[in-house]
Amino acid sequence: MVFLAMEIIFFSLFGTNYFSLRNLQNILLASTTVLLLATGETFVIITGGIDLSVGFMVGFSSVICAKVMVTLQAAGASQAVAISCGILAALLLGLLPGLVNGLLVAKLKVPPFIATFGMYGIAYGFAEIICKNVPIHSLPTAVGSIGHGYLSYWLPGKALTFLKRPENLTRLELQNLVSIIPNITVIVAIFIGIFAFILARTKFGQHTYAIGGSMDAAERAGINVKRHLIKVYMISSFFASLAGVTYVLRFITGRAPAGSARLLDAVVAVVIGGASLYGGTGTIIGTVIGALIIGTLEIGLVNLGIPTYNLYIAVGCILIIAVLIDQFFPELVRKED
């Protein structure tokens, strides 16, 4: 938290146009994938597991989503039907790898990191085969207007509209148009809100912490650990496929390697957010802060004109430092009950 504040102040001082509504929204948009992946990953890490398949799951579901949309559109379905079918298909099929991961981990006792590592290869392979190694294009046009739309627009001194851009604007007016809250951020916020509630306030969340704290104790307490673990891995892959869908909405394409570079970021966000890799601790809010730290860093570096590959170095270092802090000051880490 402190680190996030420091980072924002640092970049505000050194970057141009850093501290502005537009830029803050850009940070939120840029963090979309990490936010979603990390939220799903939080559940898994709290149970003491890990899900390495999420990175390629993004590509997998983005390809499915785009493919279904393109196929339906070509078959003459209306845009609304094509888009909603594409999204539904991606989200439903996206649950499958989670189910398989969960079954492998819970029933067959495969170490989580190997089961999901296998899935990492399998998901990528399928994604490449579905899209034949070329990004999928010519999606319905409405996809872009959803993905690039904002919840409301405000023209200073004139009007406030919701969901629709005011029409017939002059060039100057367009420049001054303030777009408030991207649609995608709304979607992300809704899902993260729901699952934050589930984790913090429901029995399901409590059981998740219990399993991560001590699996034997959880079993003795009568929790159906196997079923619960399967559900947790399905949540993780659900969020990954949601990230795939938002990828399609934002970039109007489906690509197999879409989220592959985000795996590290997602795990890092969770760990920065105070979760321990041994399970039992961690919160969604912490994870959100972790993801925003990475997003801020990314946009901040771009803003300062520093090439993004420095981000990977920075994130790698942050991960190791976060784990070291966790090791040396275990009592500092926040624990939610």
Partner: protein, 366 residues
């Protein structure tokens, strides 16, 4: 006769069945490799032949190195996810050094030697850091090396600025493409030097025997297989993987030993990086989608190592790598999109772990 029936346990059908099962369980990967060789020989075009087999070997050299290093780490009960990107980092670094020294007017031999050795030296550093993090700071191995995954990749990208490094000394290509011996029906054998041939058909039929990269990799593997199976160092590695507490009580300096193990893994990755520079005649940073770490770990696990540590061996790993290499090559020759390899390897990895789970006593131990 008595000895023979004893050997085959003819009088004890129960025990014989068990022995056969045991044999299959212990050597399933080898049997599967043979099965695939048979399958592809029947189905694939031009699969069964000296030329193709040496292609498989040559293509497998990088993975052989990566997986051998990983074998040490996995036997000690850890994991190293950073190897693929360490390889890319070294590949880029050594290529840049070679190019710049060459451009500065140094003789080819000097620039190549300097590039290779500095590349390997730098490549060992990530392993050292991994080792220190894992042992002194008790960071879980897969997190420490995941951090290094990002760092090494970022560095490689930064150094190369995302572009392949070309314009290397011309000898680099010659070394990468060299073979130990050539055989032509007209000129007979010649060692190291490619015979001068004029006719197209003769050039096509020229038999190239054992490429230099393959030979170097085999030498390295033999040395480290010896270290692992015959020396105290190897024994200690198994001991740490088997039971770390017992290893400490037995007086092994566990932290120091583990640091060495991670350095070995990194060293192999660095060698793979230099080898890649020679093979490609270019320096290229590793792509995210190439998933070298997936294939290396899969090869080690297929080779009979257990992720809980204490089990595995270099020769098992070699079988695992060859299995993956044969699969790649066979798929390619049958005209199946190469991406099926990711699915196949993912599945084989999971199946291998399941076999290890259900038949722990079966798994091959060196």
């Amino acid at each position: 006769m008595r000895v023979l029936s004893d050997f085959f346990l003819l009088e004890y059908p129960e025990r014989r069945r068990k022995k056969v099962l045991n044999y299959i369980g212990r050597n399933w990967s080898l049997l599967f490799l043979m099965f695939m060789l048979g399958l592809f020989s029947i189905l694939g075009k031009n699969f069964f032949g000296f030329r193709n087999f040496s292609n498989i070997l040559l293509a497998a050299t990088t993975l052989l190195l990566l997986a051998s290093g990983e074998t040490f780490v996995i036997i000690s009960g850890g994991i190293d996810l950073s190897i693929g990107f360490v390889m890319g980092f070294v590949c880029v670094t050594s290529a840049i050094i070679m190019r710049d020294l060459h451009a500065a007017g140094f003789p080819q031999a000097v620039s190549i030697l300097a590039g290779s050795s500095i590349g390997i030296l730098l490549g060992v550093i990530p392993g050292f850091i991994n080792g220190v993090l894992v042992t002194k700071f008790k960071v879980p191995p897969f997190i420490a090396t995941l951090g290094m995954w990002g760092i090494a990749n970022g560095l490689a990208w930064r150094i190369s600025e995302g572009f392949p490094i070309a314009f290397l000394p011309s000898k680099v290509r010659e070394i990468g493409m060299a073979y130990i011996a050539y055989y032509s029906s007209k000129k007979g054998f010649s060692l190291f030097h490619r015979p001068v041939l004029t006719e197209r058909a003769d050039i096509w039929n020229l038999m190239k025997i054992i490429s230099l990269p393959v030979l170097l990799v085999i030498i390295l593997l033999v040395i480290f297989a010896f270290i692992l199976s015959r020396t105290k160092f190897g024994q200690h590695t198994y001991a740490i993987g088997g039971k770390i507490d017992a290893a400490i009580r037995a007086g092994i300096n566990v932290p120091w030993h583990l640091i060495k193990v991670y350095v070995i893994s990194s060293f192999f990755a660095a060698c793979a990086g230099v080898l890649l520079t020679f093979k490609l005649n270019m320096g290229i940073h590793t792509q995210y989608t190439s998933s070298y770490e997936l294939f290396a770990i899969a090869a080690v696990v297929i080779g009979g190592a257990s992720l809980t540590g204490g089990k595995g061996g270099i020769w098992g790993t070699v079988v695992g790598v060859l299995l993956i290499g044969t699969l790649d090559n066979g798929l390619m020759l049958m005209g199946i999109p190469i991406f099926y390899r990711y699915i196949a390897i993912g599945c084989i990895l999971i199946v291998a772990v399941l076999i290890d789970q259900f038949f722990p006593e079966l798994v091959y131990k060196e």
